[in-house]
Amino acid sequence: MADVAMGAAALVEERSPGRSKALASLKFGDLVFGRLTQAAAALVLLILSGVILSLLLGAIPAIRAFGLGFLVSEQWNPVTEKFGALAPIIGTVTTSIIAMAIAAPVGVGIAVFLTELCPQALRRPIGIAIELLAGIPSIIYGIWGLFVLAPFVQAYVEPAIIAVFGPIPVLSSVFAGPPYGIGTLTAGFVLAIMVVPFIAAVSRDVFDTVPPVLKESAYGIGCTSWEVVRRVVIPYTRVGLIGGMMLGLGRALGETMAVTFVIGNAHKITSSLLAPGTTISATIANEFTEADGQLYTSSLIALALILFVITFLVLAAARLMLARLERQKGR
């Protein structure tokens, strides 16, 4: 197309110089616009590399002072300036595991209900409600968790858990200690409530991509609803389902406000889920503005770097897995 336009430009040039000037300015505008969009796209890469670079630079004092021991040390003492990331890392992983253990089955269950069982009239309203709730900012879940969920968990859920699991040898240490209400378990609950609408919305969308013919033929040979879901819908949508869960996990790992309110911010590792703990993001949110001294600030930035690397790996793994499963399906 460009060749033709140029040929035309040469042709008209002989007849009217004004027109060729107009064409040249159009071509120039074209070039500028194209480069502009390309630069904006490159900006996305620049942001990512900027984030990684600035965190790395900021973390250098902490890395120099503690080395790899930073990753496995439990100490977190601003007075003696000894810092280690183990407690926040474990807290982040534990709360995310609790959240995913609850949110993944519940979210997929909601999606199954919406696509297979729900009366047509209710399908849209419930679907819209879930999508809207997926967009509610996390601080709302945080404030609700602090004032409503935590007292409830303290008064009813945790005593019940202690009563049930207390006499069992291994589980009793997992659920040891007094019911504070605020702690790892409650933080996991709040995260789960936050992630459920997200997973439900994504799973519903992927379930909707199953061709009706597949489901109808399964029903036609006498499958029950569960068998249709288990043998047709889930295998067909495996790719999207895993992607949705990984995205939910990424969200749970990096979530700050919902957790900060209810985790208790205690830098110690206990086997008990009922005890207050901390996560990487909660530590940063609670302590960064009050951190004095280069090493303290640098240690918090090193924590952020760890968090970013973890979430990056989870999200990148999700993408690569999706790509591989996609290829398998193509074969």
Partner: protein
């Protein structure tokens, strides 16, 4: 027959479970909105919109926080949205299958769900630390960085929905490529792109973590972009964790305001995209 009965039974159990978790989920979500309305409405009065945030135990409202949130969110979107649209345009119109485009797409998807607190620290490192003080400007930059990936994604998706024959027809008339994109493709995708911007506004208007280390907070009125500025989420964070009943009440009211804003924006976005598909 025995086998059939057990299959029927397991199906009934699983389907019962999925209905159960849906009811469970809806009850929880209703509970959240219910408490929010109940506690938030109790403190909603004119003073909230006309008075500054109070010292502990004093009377006051959220005026400076509301104004700060509005200012920083709108500036962040004004900076971030055009950049996102341009990058999305590159992905959909110019790059499409190029190496750069697939890399940008991959990175953008990761930034889309990257922890926002890390973005806050990044902006702290590049703006707050060199300047030596917290500022609303840094908050704006942090929000703009969060806006970009959302807008990139929706702009690309919406431009890809525009049928190719439309572009070919425009090109056949001799329109230069930038005009084909700006005057034809963008016009066809307009509602979708606006939807994306609305979703981006909804996303950043409740963001707290990136503001904590950039715009910080400010108990007083400030219109200076080079100084700390109050914002609703930061005020909610501070007030909710305080032991004062007045402050906690204001935190609930602020939470209600944010939620209503976000819900309104999302409903508006849905309505826009619905009116587009009906046409």
């Amino acid at each position: 027959m025995e086998r059939f009965a057990s299959r029927r039974r397991s199906s009934a159990i699983m389907m019962g479970l999925s209905t159960g978790v849906t009811a469970f989920g809806l009850v929880f979500l209703a509970l959240i909105l219910g408490t929010l309305l109940w506690k938030g409405l109790a403190g909603l009065n004119l003073a909230v919109f006309t008075q500054m945030t109070p010292p502990p135990g004093g009377k006051g409202g959220l005026l400076n926080a509301i104004a700060g949130s509005l200012a920083m969110t709108s500036l962040g979107v004004i900076v971030g949205a055009p950049l996102g649209m341009l990058a999305g345009t590159y992905l959909a119109e110019y790059g499409r299958y190029s190496k750069l485009a697939s890399l940008v797409r991959f990175i953008n998807d990761i930034l889309l769900s990257a922890p926002s607190i890390v973005i806050g620290l990044f902006v702290y490192q590049i703006i707050v630390a060199p300047l030596g003080h917290f500022s609303a400007l840094a908050g704006v930059v942090a929000l703009a960085i969060l806006v970009v990936p959302v807008v990139v994604r929706t702009t690309e998706d919406m431009l890809l929905l525009v049928p190719a024959p439309l572009r070919e027809a425009a090109a056949a008339l001799g329109l230069p490529r930038s005009h084909v994109i700006l005057k034809v493709a963008f016009r066809a995708a307009r509602a979708g792109i606006i939807t994306g911007v609305l979703l981006a506004i909804a996303r950043v208007s409740g963001e707290t973590a990136p503001l904590l280390f950039t715009s910080l907070n400010n108990q007083f009125w400030s219109s200076n972009l080079n100084a700390p500025m109050a914002s609703l989420p930061a005020v909610i964070f501070q007030f909710a964790l305080s032991p004062y009943a007045d402050w906690q009440q204001l935190a609930w009211t602020g939470a209600l305001l944010i939620t209503l804003t976000v819900l309104t924006l999302s409903v508006l976005a849905r309505w826009l995209s619905a009116s587009r598909t009906n046409k």
